[in-house]
């Protein structure tokens, strides 16, 4: 790292968003080792992409774009067939068993597990919404229309409520 300004921006962005990135990575992979691997993949990608940042969006939006791209790359590279199952539009059956198996766990752990159960496209939208992003920002990160984000977010919320054992 020989560019002090780039290094300063890199470290500031990472320091400010590391917990959010950790939660994002946690929505794609289960083990903490895999989550660390994923974060360690995201860091070089962010470093390489920083010079391309032209301020069209917030730096946070930019960071989440990079992070999302790497999460998708990570899961499609490692387990193509499992990834295909993750893309299924219908959530897996067995909500009762999810409820039962998670009954003793903390609420945030239940939520993370429920988010992981979402089909990938719904998961992407809902994770960003849970990180307090507006629909317009989510649309920028994912490269889809704001209208599409709204539709998917509604579906995702309904699925999430179902998975969390609440009434739809």
């Amino acid at each position: 790292m020989q560019d002090p300004d780039r290094e300063r921006r890199f470290l500031t962005l990472l320091n400010a968003n590391l917990p959010a990135l950790g939660r994002l990575a946690g929505s794609y992979v289960r083990s903490s080792a895999e989550r660390e691997d994923l974060l360690q993949d995201i860091a070089p990608a962010l470093w390489q992409a920083l010079p391309r940042f032209r301020g069209e969006s917030s730096e946070r939006t930019f960071l989440f774009r990079i992070a999302h791209n790497h999460c998708i790359n990570h899961i499609t590279r490692r387990r193509p067939m499992a990834s295909l199952q993750e893309l299924e539009l219908d959530p897996p059956d067995g909500n009762i068993s999810i409820e039962a198996s998670l009954h003793q766990q903390q609420d945030s752990a239940r939520l993370t597990e429920a988010v992981r159960q979402l089909p990938l496209i719904q998961r992407q939208v809902v994770v960003l919404a849970l990180e307090d992003m507006e629909d317009a920002e989510i649309a920028q990160v994912l490269g889809m229309t704001e209208n599409n984000v709204g539709v998917r977010l509604n579906r995702a919320r309904a699925t999430l409520r179902k998975l969390m054992g609440e009434c739809p």
């Binding site: 660390e36 360690q40 790359n73 295909l84 945030s108 992407q124 990160v141 490269g143 977010l153 919320r157």
Partner: protein, 193 residues
């Protein structure tokens, strides 16, 4: 739109989660390591090309047989062909048009397709290089084919190397096809209204 009360509670719950994370210094070291690895890989491929060209140039300069320059010409031609094919295969795969997930998906799909196509093209080039170098030896220096087929170089690069290379390329192409299926499905979901 994303501020319903029940979802607000979920947001607070989500943001209160603090997964254990690697420290920033470790991530910074990873960036340095990755940059070094990237340049090393590029340097290695370039060095191999330069080495092959320099070797055949030295051979042509030292050889009393003027036909050795044809051998140098073949190596030059082959290196140019390989780099051209590699650049052709990687067209449109250098970087996404922007940093959105949709653009990254497009570039990933192109990379997958390029790697699938690289299998037959790579195998064909390998065979071409092997047969070409044998043909030149035969034509220029009058080396008998049957003698060449049993040399250590031919055993290593031909009898062992060629099937291993082909198997590796086919395996990678199959892997990329599976990945392509996932990426195309994801793209379909992203673009459907």
């Amino acid at each position: 739109m994303n501020a319903q009360p029940d979802f607000g509670a979920l947001k607070r719950q989500w943001q209160s989660a603090a997964p254990p994370l690697p420290d920033v210094a470790a991530l910074r070291e990873r960036v340095n390591a990755d940059t070094r690895a990237h340049w090393r890989a590029l340097g290695l491929v370039t060095a191999l090309t330069v080495l092959a060209l320099a070797g055949s140039l030295v051979f042509a300069l030292l050889s009393p047989d003027p036909a050795a320059w044809l051998s140098f010409g073949f190596v030059m031609l082959f290196a140019t062909l390989m780099w051209s094919v590699a650049l052709w295969l990687s067209r449109g795969t250098w970087r996404p048009r922007d940093d959105s997930v949709a653009a990254a998906l497009d570039v990933s799909i192109r990379r997958c397709r390029s790697m699938v196509l690289a299998a037959p093209v790579g195998i064909a080039l390998y065979v071409l290089g092997l047969v070409g170098s044998l043909a030149w030896k035969d034509r220029l220096f009058g080396v008998d084919w049957s003698t060449v087929l049993g040399t250590p170089g031919m055993i290593f690069a031909g009898w062992i190397g060629a099937p291993l290379y082909a198997a590796g390329m086919v395996w990678n192409a199959r892997r990329q096809r599976s990945r392509l299926k996932v990426l195309l499905e994801l793209k379909r979901q992203l673009t459907e209204s």
